[in-house]
Every structure is written in structure tokens, then in C-alpha cells.
């Protein structure tokens, strides 16, 4: 049986009531709602204070710039809800970019390259998934390993070359807006996939299973949920989406390099956690994650427009991340005064 992978669980003296986030106060003060409100604030403040911010051009660019992070965040949300994590996504993106470049350079047709690369990405995810589910290794350790491995393979594939000159009609698909809208194609694709993911996560049996696995894996297993297969599926999905994001990335920048997307995994995880998904699994909403992705992206954009230096941007991101995990616990701590700890739960009032 897989050991619990909550490597980062805080050591605590007495058990923290985990459910208090859903208490009466928590119902209104949920973090994902707060992030949404924060997002609105940033947007309103930006539009009022910075002339270039609310322009269609700028927003369209800012959205497009988030495309890959947002795409990968969809799969990452499901993984984290199931109490797993995939740190290798950015390396899969890099490997996918390197493959696209080297195959394109070798004269392959782009139409065969794209599906092939996605299959390779799924294969990368499969390796992660098998190591996690068959050997019962913590996904954090496994994907730190494959983070190095897949990035290394990207260098093996493409070395120091940088491949450019991709076919214009495909580059256009990655860069241009859907006609008549300010929404770039990848963002439109993201919206579609996000809608699908949202339904899957929050309204289907598969989604229910994910939450159950994340909250209490053993109980999920005893309820007949195919824990291992579901986790394997998630890793495969995560690999495939990361590879697809690699294709988008390559086309969008018109440049295939082995070092594309280095460090992107931390941005994705930051966005997911900022969106209120509990790193210990079992709790979170896709809406929160989307708000988180947008908040990070738009806030950065706004700071840049106001010539706030990168250093400050980095500090702001870090602080937001810390606040995003502290706040719900504070809310819970406030709620705990009204709600008993489960360890000593008195009988509920009779109904």
C-alpha cells in the first residue's frame, strides 16, 4: 500500500480539525472566494491606475502568456486534490519542445509531430505514475527525479541547438486571437478544457473519487475506488497536457530549445496552491485555481507595467503563497472556537 505522501504535513501536537474550513464561517470566507475577490480588486485597481492595463491588447497578451501555466494547472489541480504532485511537468514541456524542434528540423510533418509528442508526454507521465502506484514511492521524490531526467533527455535530443522557423499557420494558431474576440486560440482551448475539467472534478464520479482519495486514500480503496488506476490516469494526463503545453510554448515563441520552460513547475504549483487547493489533498476548487492563475498573471503584469522590479515581483509572489496557506488555517482557528475538535466531538443536537 502506498505510504501517505504528505511529506509536507506540518508536525502538530494535537490533531487539527480538518473539516472546520467548511464550518459556518468558512462557508463565506473560503479562500477560493477570497482569491476571486482579490482578482477583481487587482483588475479594478489596474484599470483605474494604469492606463495600458485594461487595453484589449495587453489583456489578450497577458492571457496568452499564461496559456501554458493555465493548461498544466488543470492537470496539476486534479493531482494535488488526489494528494499527489508532479514536479516534472516543466521538464516534460521542455522535452516536448526539444522533440518538436528536432523532428521538425529532421523534416517531419508537424501534423505527425504533435500527436507523437503528446504520446511521448503521456509516456513520461506513465513512468511517473507507475513509480508512484506500483512501487508506492512518494510522488514528490519520484518527480524530482524525473524533473532532472526529462530535462536531461531534452538536452540529449536537442543539445545546444535552437530550432526556429515553424510554419506560419501553426504559429498563428498559438499566437493569434480567435477572430472577433480578444482571446488567443490557446486560451480558448484552455477555456474549453477548463470547463471539461471543472465538470469532471466537481460533478462526476471520477471527481468525487479524487477528493475521496486525497482526503483518505484507504477509505477510498475500501469503497471500491480504483485508487492506483485513477492516480496512474492522472499522471498520464498530466504528462500529456504538459507535452501539449510544450507544443503551444514552442509555437508561441517560435523557438524550440531544450531549456524551454525551466522552473515553470513552481509557477504552476504556486498558482494551484494560491487557488486554495490543499496541498495535503482532498480539498480545493477549480474555480479557485483559475482565479489563482489569473491573479498571479495579472498582478505580475500590473507590477511590470508600473515598473516594479522583478525582485519585488518575486517577493510578492512568495508572500501571496504564504498568505494563501496561512489564511485558511487562521479562519479555521477562528472557527475552532465555535466548532469542537473532532477528537472529542460531543453528540450533535438531535434532529
Amino acid at each position: 500500500m502506498a505510504p501517505d505522501v504528505t511529506a509536507a504535513k506540518p508536525a502538530e501536537g494535537v490533531s487539527v480539525p480538518a473539516g472546520t474550513g467548511r464550518g459556518s464561517l468558512g462557508r463565506f470566507l473560503r479562500w477560493d472566494v477570497l482569491v476571486g475577490m482579490l482578482l477583481v480588486l487587482v483588475f479594478a485597481g489596474g484599470s483605474a491606475g494604469s492606463p495600458g492595463f485594461a487595453s484589449i491588447d495587453n489583456l489578450s497578451f497577458a492571457l496568452g502568456d499564461l496559456g501554458e501555466i493555465a493548461l498544466i494547472a488543470l492537470a496539476m489541480t486534479m493531482l494535488v486534490v488526489a494528494a499527489e504532485v508532479d514536479l516534472s511537468v516543466a521538464s516534460v514541456l521542455g522535452l516536448s519542445s526539444a522533440l518538436v524542434g528536432s523532428l521538425w528540423d529532421a523534416g517531419w510533418a508537424i501534423e505527425s509531430i504533435i500527436p507523437l509528442v503528446i504520446v511521448v508526454g503521456a509516456g513520461c507521465g506513465l513512468v511517473n505514475g507507475l513509480l508512484v502506484t506500483r512501487l508506492g514511492l512518494p510522488s514528490l521524490a519520484v518527480t524530482i527525479g524525473t524533473l532532472a531526467l526529462y530535462r536531461g533527455l531534452a538536452y540529449v535530443v536537442l543539445g545546444d541547438r535552437a530550432i526556429a522557423e515553424f510554419p506560419q499557420q501553426y504559429v498563428d494558431l498559438a499566437v493569434n486571437d480567435v477572430p472577433g474576440t480578444p482571446v488567443p486560440y490557446p486560451v480558448m482551448l484552455f477555456i474549453l478544457l477548463a470547463a471539461v475539467t471543472g465538470v469532471v472534478l466537481h460533478a462526476t464520479g471520477f471527481g468525487r473519487s479524487l477528493f475521496a482519495i486525497g482526503a483518505q486514500e484507504e477509505a477510498a480503496q475500501f469503497a471500491g475506488i480504483r485508487v492506483k488506476r485513477i492516480k496512474l490516469t492522472l499522471f498520464v494526463l498530466s504528462g500529456a497536457i504538459a507535452a501539449f503545453a510544450g507544443v503551444v510554448y514552442t509555437l508561441r515563441y517560435g523557438s524550440a530549445r531544450a531549456d524551454n520552460g525551466v522552473g515553470l513547475e513552481l509557477a504552476v504549483i504556486a498558482a494551484v496552491l494560491l487557488g486554495g487547493v490543499d496541498f495535503d489533498g482532498g480539498r480545493g476548487t477549480l474555480g479557485g485555481v483559475i482565479a489563482g492563475v489569473l491573479l498571479i498573471g495579472l498582478l505580475r503584469n500590473l507590477l511590470m507595467l508600473n515598473d516594479v522590479s522583478t525582485e519585488i515581483q518575486s517577493i510578492v509572489t512568495g508572500l501571496l503563497l504564504i498568505i494563501s496557506v496561512i489564511t485558511p488555517r487562521l479562519v479555521a482557528a477562528v472557527g475552532r472556537r465555535r466548532i469542537p475538535a473532532p477528537a472529542s466531538s460531543p453528540p450533535p443536537p438531535e434532529s
Partner: protein, 513 residues
């Protein structure tokens, strides 16, 4: 039903001369709006075993945690030798000589047994280094005193629950604890392990230790304790000598009303074979287990903890893989290691560990009940919340679940109500074979009777029930047949009319009768 043992001559009344070693005076504790303890008083005297009785949710665990320094009382006092004290944390309580053995043993699986006993108080050599030789010698000495053979250098990982309890007691012994608080220590133990534990506790008591003992098994209270304090709904009901009480008296104090019989077994007609297990083997765990369960029958699987009973259940249901053998449900063979296939064939398993295996504690009642029916609750690709809620409400009513809202997390429910949610979760799959592991562990008397009535009713309706229980009266009271396992093998099959405590225990311990 067995005669309550009253081997020890109970001390009729507390020795008035010395002040109580540890006492609570008018202690109240509230969590938010809920008052877990209301002006509870309790006195523990040296050399006395004191029982704490009450239904789940009566406030017993809160009281234990107050004594242990985990909680601090809102009002009232904790008195040590008659002097008020304040325990800020568990360390303070331990310092004062209060040792607590929790319901679930609190082990460090990666540390050795000796370290588990002495953690934080290891014997020191020069420069405050840990003196390992002394530590191991003292651990061995403690085990000798307890009359058990455990290797102090063995890692705690993999110890049986009974052995873990013993390590906890060794820990308490090593502290020279003056007060030993035991929160349902016997819940996971079987007959001879309980006997061994009781011998140790009696010896401690005779050495002048005060013991606070919590158990849902009333027999044990009558066997071990001199006085009993009863709590109900967080309030103090009575503190009195055990000697003058009957089972029914005690139940009445706990429940606040009279109970009908605890084991309402109905006569049923036995139908065709629903579950057939053939030569099932999992290497190193159980070997060559064969039996069948028919419709309308309640078959109990008895034996000591660690005999492999739960493991057989897990393998049948497919949570664990089996190495050899067959499982058939209604004549259809099940593939190995597939709970999904087992469920499809009509199997249901109410697991042993409610909090870990039975429920997703943070999730709502309706979600927990719905978890086994994700396929049937679908409308198109999407789960219908209305259907989910209907299903939950339906079973909540049928099982007389006490709850506020169906959207409340199950961790706010009492143990008995949590067990009802687990039952609802499985009965809603309309199983043909129900495997139920420790159906009433940690459940108060009132709910216990309800669960038993339900099982009986289900069998009468044609369900095949395989019940695993360490509670012998329950086994004898409910089962049509008793299968006994010992060290991974099925060693005896005893029909209802010949099943007695003695015959079952003889088979379970492997002693020739």
C-alpha cells in the same frame, strides 16, 4: 451471557483518610457552542481501579484529555493530592505522574521498542548522552515484570496492537506513574490478551497505582473495577461502588432509560450458499481458509487479534491480493484484488477501522454514503446531487441516524452514528453478502443494540452476513455458526447451540480441551 466476574473483593467505599491522588472538581469544557463537559467531578484514589462509563459522546474522551493535559478546563479544577494544579500540556501531566494509554496506541513506528518506552526520558550517561545499554536493560526488566517477551531493540513497526498496548503500559510503568488512565485499552484485544492486560493492571493497582478505566464492555468493568463514574451528555450522573450494581443498572445510568435485549437475534431460514471461499491463502498471513456463508445466516469469524480474520476479509473483498484459492459469490468466481468486481458481484465490506478505512472523515454524510454508488447516482456523465441526497436521506432515516444536516462532515458525528453512516454506505449498494468487521467496536450500548437488531433483520431478509468480532458475547449472541481462526488457519467450526465462551476460546488459543 456470562456471569459478570467479581473475582476481586471490591472495596466498598473509597478510603476517606488520604486525599485522592488525582481529582476533577466541577470541571466544564466547551468547544464553541457545544459543552463537552458540564461540572464534572471525579476522584481517583491510590490502589483503586475506577471505571468511567458513558455512551459515546458522553464526554469520556474529553475528560481523559483534560487529565492528560491535552485540554484545559474552562472552569473547575484539576487537583493533584488535593492541591490544584494546571496542566499546560501533556508533558506537565506526565511530570505529575499521570500516564495515559489512548484508545489507539501512539507508537513511533520507526523507533525501537525501548526508545518508544523511554522517549524524552532516556537514561543518560556522561555528558547527557543516551545510555543505550541501560535503556535496553531497563526495557527488558519492564517486560519481564509484565511477563511478556518483547525484544527492546525491535522496531515498533509491525507490532501487533496487543503488543503495542503492552509497550504503552511498559511506558507507564517506567514513569512510575501514580495514575494510569486507560481509554478503551481492550477495544482491539481478544480474550487472553485482555486477561493478560488485567493481570498487569491488577498488579499495578495493588502497588498503589490509581487506575481510570474506560470500556464499552460492561463485563470488564465489573471484573476489574471497584468504583464507577457514569457520564451522560457531558454531565456527571453518578459515582458509586461497582459492587451493588447490575449490568442493567449501569446501562440505565448511561442511556437514561431501560434497554431491551442487547442481542436481538431472530430465527431465520437459511437459504442457498451466497459466499464460498475455497482454500484461500495469502503467504505469511493466512493459509488454506475454506468456508461458506448462506443466505439468511450470520457467520461469525472469531479468533485472537492477529489470527488473520480481518486479513481474510480484506482479501475476499479484494483490498489485498490473495496468492491462492477461490472466492465465489452466488457461484461466480471473483478475480483477485478487485474491490470493484467484488462490489459488482454483491459483496460489501464494513471495515475494521472506521476512521481510516470506513469513512472520509472530512467529507459530508451524503458524500460518504454516495461514495459506493458513484455509478448508480449518475445522470448522464454527471453525478446527480438530488439523487445523492435522496439516497443519503433514505438510509439516514432507515438507520435512525442522528445528524444535523446531511452536508455536515462525518467527523462531527459520534462513533455510533459514524458506524451507521458506514452501514448506510454499504447497505445502499444492496449487497447480497455483507462482511462486517468489528461491527460495534467503540460504540455505546444503545447504538450497539440497534446495530445488532439491524444485522438480525438483514439476515432475516435473506442477506448473508460474515461478522468478525473480538467481542465474545456479541459472537455468541448473534452468530448462527462460529468459525474460529488461529494463526492464519481456520481451526474450528462451532454451531450456535454448541458455541460457548469456553469452546470458542479453546479453539482460538489452540489449547487442547
Amino acid at each position: 451471557m456470562s456471569e459478570p466476574g467479581r473475582g476481586e473483593a471490591p472495596l466498598g467505599s473509597p478510603p476517606e483518610q488520604a486525599p485522592p491522588v488525582l481529582a476533577l472538581a466541577g470541571v466544564s469544557k466547551a468547544f464553541g457552542a457545544v459543552r463537552a463537559l458540564r461540572e464534572v467531578s471525579l476522584q481517583l484514589f491510590a490502589g483503586e481501579a475506577h471505571a468511567l462509563a458513558g455512551e459515546n459522546g458522553a464526554g469520556k474522551s474529553t475528560l481523559v484529555k483534560t487529565l492528560a493535559g491535552v485540554h484545559r478546563p474552562d472552569t473547575g479544577q484539576v487537583l493533584l493530592d488535593g492541591e490544584p494544579v494546571e496542566f499546560h500540556n501533556p508533558a506537565d501531566a506526565q511530570q505529575a505522574g499521570v500516564a495515559v494509554i489512548y484508545q489507539e496506541p501512539t507508537m513511533f513506528p520507526d523507533l525501537s521498542v525501548a526508545e518508544n518506552i523511554f522517549i524524552g526520558r532516556q537514561p543518560r550517561a556522561a555528558l547527557r548522552r543516551i545510555d543505550r545499554a541501560t535503556m535496553h536493560a531497563r526495557a527488558t526488566e519492564l517486560f519481564t515484570r509484565l511477563g511478556v517477551a518483547l525484544d527492546p531493540e525491535q522496531p515498533a513497526r509491525g507490532l501487533s496492537i496487543a503488543d503495542q498496548q503492552l509497550v504503552e503500559i511498559a511506558k507507564a510503568l517506567s514513569r512510575d506513574a501514580r495514575v494510569l488512565v486507560m481509554d478503551e485499552p481492550t477495544a482491539a484485544l481478544s480474550g487472553n490478551e485482555v486477561a493478560r492486560l488485567f493481570n498487569v493492571v491488577k498488579a499495578l493497582r495493588e502497588q498503589g497505582c490509581a487506575v481510570l478505566f474506560i470500556s464499552h464492555r460492561l463485563d470488564e468493568i465489573f471484573e476489574l473495577c471497584q468504583r464507577v463514574t457514569t457520564l451522560r451528555d457531558g454531565g456527571w450522573i453518578a459515582s458509586e461502588p461497582v459492587a451493588g450494581l447490575t449490568h442493567d443498572d449501569l446501562i440505565r445510568r448511561m442511556v437514561g432509560r431501560d434497554l431491551d435485549t442487547l442481542y436481538p437475534k431472530q430465527e431465520t431460514t437459511v437459504g442457498e450458499v451466497a459466499l464460498r471461499v475455497g482454500r484461500l491463502t495469502r503467504e505469511g498471513v493466512f493459509t488454506d481458509v475454506s468456508f461458506e456463508v448462506r443466505r439468511g445466516e450470520i457467520v461469525a469469524l472469531a479468533g485472537l487479534v492477529g489470527a488473520g480474520r480481518s486479513e481474510v476479509a480484506r482479501a475476499i473483498f479484494g483490498v489485498d491480493r490473495w496468492d491462492a484459492g477461490t472466492v465465489e459469490v452466488n457461484g461466480r468466481r471473483l478475480p483477485a484484488a478487485s474491490p470493484t468486481a467484488a462490489m459488482a458481484a454483491g459483496l460489501a465490506l464494513v471495515p475494521e477501522d472506521r476512521r481510516q478505512q470506513g469513512l472520509v472523515m472530512d467529507q459530508s454524510i451524503e458524500r460518504n454514503i454516495g461514495l459506493t454508488g458513484l455509478k448508480t447516482l449518475r445522470r448522464g456523465p454527471v453525478i446527480s446531487r438530488a439523487a445523492e441526497r435522496d439516497r443519503a436521506r433514505d438510509w439516514a432515516i432507515r438507520l435512525q441516524l442522528k445528524f444535523n444536516r446531511l452536508s455536515d462532515a462525518v467527523n462531527v458525528l459520534s462513533g455510533g452514528n459514524q458506524q451507521k453512516v458506514v452501514l448506510g454506505k454499504w447497505l445502499s449498494t444492496r449487497p447480497e453478502v455483507l462482511i462486517i468487521d468489528e461491527p460495534t467496536r467503540g460504540i455505546d450500548v444503545g447504538t450497539k443494540a440497534e446495530v445488532h437488531r439491524l444485522l438480525s433483520q438483514l439476515a432475516a431478509d435473506g442477506l448473508a452476513v460474515l461478522m468478525i468480532s473480538s467481542d465474545l458475547p456479541e459472537v455468541l449472541g448473534m452468530a448462527d455458526r462460529v468459525l474460529v481462526m488461529q494463526e492464519g488457519r481456520l481451526v474450528a467450526e462451532i454451531p450456535r447451540d454448541r458455541a460457548t465462551e469456553e469452546s470458542v476460546m479453546t479453539a482460538a488459543t489452540g489449547r487442547a480441551s
